[in-house]
Structures are given as C-alpha cells and as structure tokens.
C-alpha cells in the first residue's frame, strides 16, 4: 500500500479533475435535464458509502474477535468516512429533491436510511471519544450492528413509504439517446469515488497508526 500510495493519489486526483469535465460533456437526461447531473456524484457517494460501511462493519467484527489493531484503525476510518459520504449524499439528494419534487426532504426510504446511518456512525464516533476505557470494543459493536441494521432500516422505510425515483433514473438512462455516455460517466464517477474511499481510508489509518506509535513513545519515555 505504501509504495502504491503516491501513484494512486496522482491517479485519483487526475480522475477527480476529469470527472466534472466528463459530467459537463454528458448529454442531458430527457426529463430532468440539468439537475439530473447531481446524480453522478450522488450515486458515486452512495457507492463510496457502501464500501466504507462494509469496511467499518467487517473490520469491527474482526477487531472484536481477533483484537487486531489494524482492523480497529480501519473501523474508525470507515466510520468517519461513512459520516462524510452520508452527509454529502443527504445534502445533494436534498438539493435534487428541491428541483425534482419541489421539497427539500421527503422521508422516503433512502433518505430515512441515510439519516439513520448517519446517526449510527456519529454514535460510533461519539462512543469512541467519550466512552472511556474500552470504548473501542463498544464502538466495534456499534459498527457491526450498524452494518447489520442497514438492510432492515431500508426495508422498513421502503414498506413505510416511497417517492424516491426507484430505478427510473437508471431506466431512462439506458433508454435515452446518449445513454451509453451517461452510463460511462456514472461508472467513471463510481470508480473515482471508490478510489477516493480507499485513499482516505489509508490516510486515516495512517493517522491512527502514528497516534499509537506516539503513545508507545510516551510510555517508553516514562520508563527511562
């Protein structure tokens, strides 16, 4: 990872620089026109969120049963990234909803799920910070249960009510002319975001690693 980090950062930055250009050159979607262009980063953010949640949940489980420090660090990094992506997803979705449905917030399943996931992982961060000794384990449990409850929240909110453009966006994407270009832009953005997720995870775990090393140094200094 360490050797690949710099080239990956360069690649990620280049992809990010190109993404707006690609989005600007993608043709309009037939019914939603300009505002549909939010979709490219919006969907990509959910892809990043999915990766971050999975990383956090699985790393939490590994930490809980294995005591692996690496998994613990990945867990923190994943949780923080979940909060960032989730917040962005909600805000961008809200801006889109304002144009598309005329409301900022509609309590539809995906919004509800995003909101609750945000709460869960803010809870993860809070318990880690204020939980006192042994808080890592509490947070790990939160990560596991957060990952496990996500489909339930989605299902429950889905049965509760729905107005989100289910898969209609996807369908119109493949039907309209220039659909192929739209799809390629979508995939480009998703790959860019997944790469970004990996890079940020690496940077954040590095911070945790440095912190533990600092603590060790302090301990060693006290022993002298």
């Amino acid at each position: 990872m360490r050797k690949a980090f710099v080239p990956l950062v360069v690649l990620g930055a280049a992809m990010f620089a190109y993404a707006p250009v690609a989005i600007a050159h993608t043709p309009y979607e037939s019914t939603m026109l300009l505002i549909q262009k939010v979709f490219y980063f919006h969907l990509a953010a959910w892809a990043g969120l999915g990766l971050a949640i999975s990383v956090c949940g699985i790393a939490s489980a590994i930490y809980l049963f294995n005591g692996s420090k690496v998994a613990d660090r990945l867990g923190v990094a994943g949780a923080e990234l979940v909060v960032v992506f989730c917040t962005f997803g909600m805000i961008s979705g809200s801006l889109w909803a304002r144009k598309a449905w005329g409301i900022w917030w509609g309590w539809d399943p995906k919004l509800t799920m995003a909101f609750i996931i945000d709460l869960v992982f803010v809870g993860y961060i809070l318990v880690r910070r204020f939980g006192g000794p042994g808080a890592e384990k509490l947070a790990a449990a939160m990560g596991i249960f957060g990952l496990a409850t996500t489909p339930f929240i989605y299902k429950a909110a889905d049965w509760w009510r729905t107005i989100h453009p289910q898969t209609s966006v996807m369908k119109t994407l493949s039907n309209t002319e220039g659909g192929a270009i739209m799809w390629s832009t979508v995939w480009f953005c998703i790959v860019t975001f997944l790469l970004l997720t990996v890079l940020v995870l690496a940077a954040r775990t590095r911070l945790e690693r440095l912190k533990t090393r600092l603590d060790e140094l302090y301990l060693a200094a006290e022993d002298l």
Partner: protein, 225 residues
Amino acid sequence: MFFRTALLVLRKDVAIELRSYEIVSTTVFFALSCVAILSFAFVNEGQAPEGTAAGILWIAIAFSGTLALGRTFERERYGETLKALLLAPAPRPAIYLGKMLGIVALMLATEIVLVPMVNFLFAASLFARPGLLVVILLLGTVGYASVGTLFAAMLVRARTRDVMLPILLYPITVPVIIAGVRGTSALIASPVDDAVAQLWISLLAFFDVVFVTLALWTFEPLMTE
C-alpha cells in the same frame, strides 16, 4: 445447562425485582408520563388525530424500555454483581439470554398497563385483533430488548453510559419502532388491515432472529476485558 443458566439468571432478576417492585413501578409511571406529554403534542379539540395512538404507544415503550435497561444494569453495577456473574463458570451467552429475558419481562409488565391505558385515552380499538397485537408487542419487545441488553451490558463499564445508551440504541432499533408503529396502526385502522400487519410481523420476526443471533455471538468478546 445453557437454558438452565439463562433461567437461573432470569429467576435471580425477577426475585430481586419482586422484593421492591422498584423498576416496574418507576418504569410504568414514566411510560404514563410519556403518554401524557405526547398527548399535549397531538390532541387537538379533545381528539387525537387518527393513528397517533400507535405512535404514542411505541414511543412510550421505547423510552420506558431505555429507563428499565439503565436501571437494571445500574443495579448490577452498584453491587458489582455483573462482574461476579461473568466470573461464574457459565456460558456467557446464557447470561446474556437470562438478562434479556428479564428485560423483556419488565417491558411486557409495563405494556400490560400501558396498552389498555392508551386504548382508553385515545379511544383506539387496539384490541380488534388481540392475537396479532400480542404477537407484534412480543416480537417488538424482544427485538428492542435484544439490542438494548447487549448495549446496556457493555456500557456498564463506560463513564457516560446514561447518555450513550439512547444514542446507540435508538438508531439501531429504528426498524423495530417503524415496524411496531406501522403494524399497530394497521390493527387500529377501521377495517383491520390483516395483510399489512402480517407483513410487519414478518419483518419483526426476521429482525429478532438476526439480532438475537448477533448479540449472542458478540456478547462473549464484548464482555471480556
């Protein structure tokens, strides 16, 4: 052995509770205060809008459940009995199961008072399908208590446990609350909507299975220091 241990833990909790009725009485009173406060928010011109009864019932259950969880484990912490319990040569998951059954019993005791009270105050026909209502209440309570017991038990060691329990517990149990509220309002609706109620019951059952399994699985590593 496994179920005997669980039942022993449950019997211990029930025996302690029966000596003073401290948690049951305070929790019931708290649930009723919740109902009163919520009624100020929703009742307009002497009438609550249709369907609020289900929401109020489940909010009261969730809030009073948190209180019961906090008090139960505060008692354990005070006597340092949880530590002793964990030191005993008994399977940890069995201890969890016993504690969870105790919480479920407490919450059901609260609901026995709460449900008729809500039914009476909001003129809701909660008992149109008593069987389905019992199933929804039971499954919802088990789902809530399964996560709640695990979190309350692991928070015993944390300094900020009073704030942390609701912060951690409510987002995770959102599906239970949604399913409980929706299922119950399907029962209140004037032609009772059996199909919808059964849909929510199936979600609740699925949730219960997944979360009880997960809790039994993670209780052991969580409680080892």
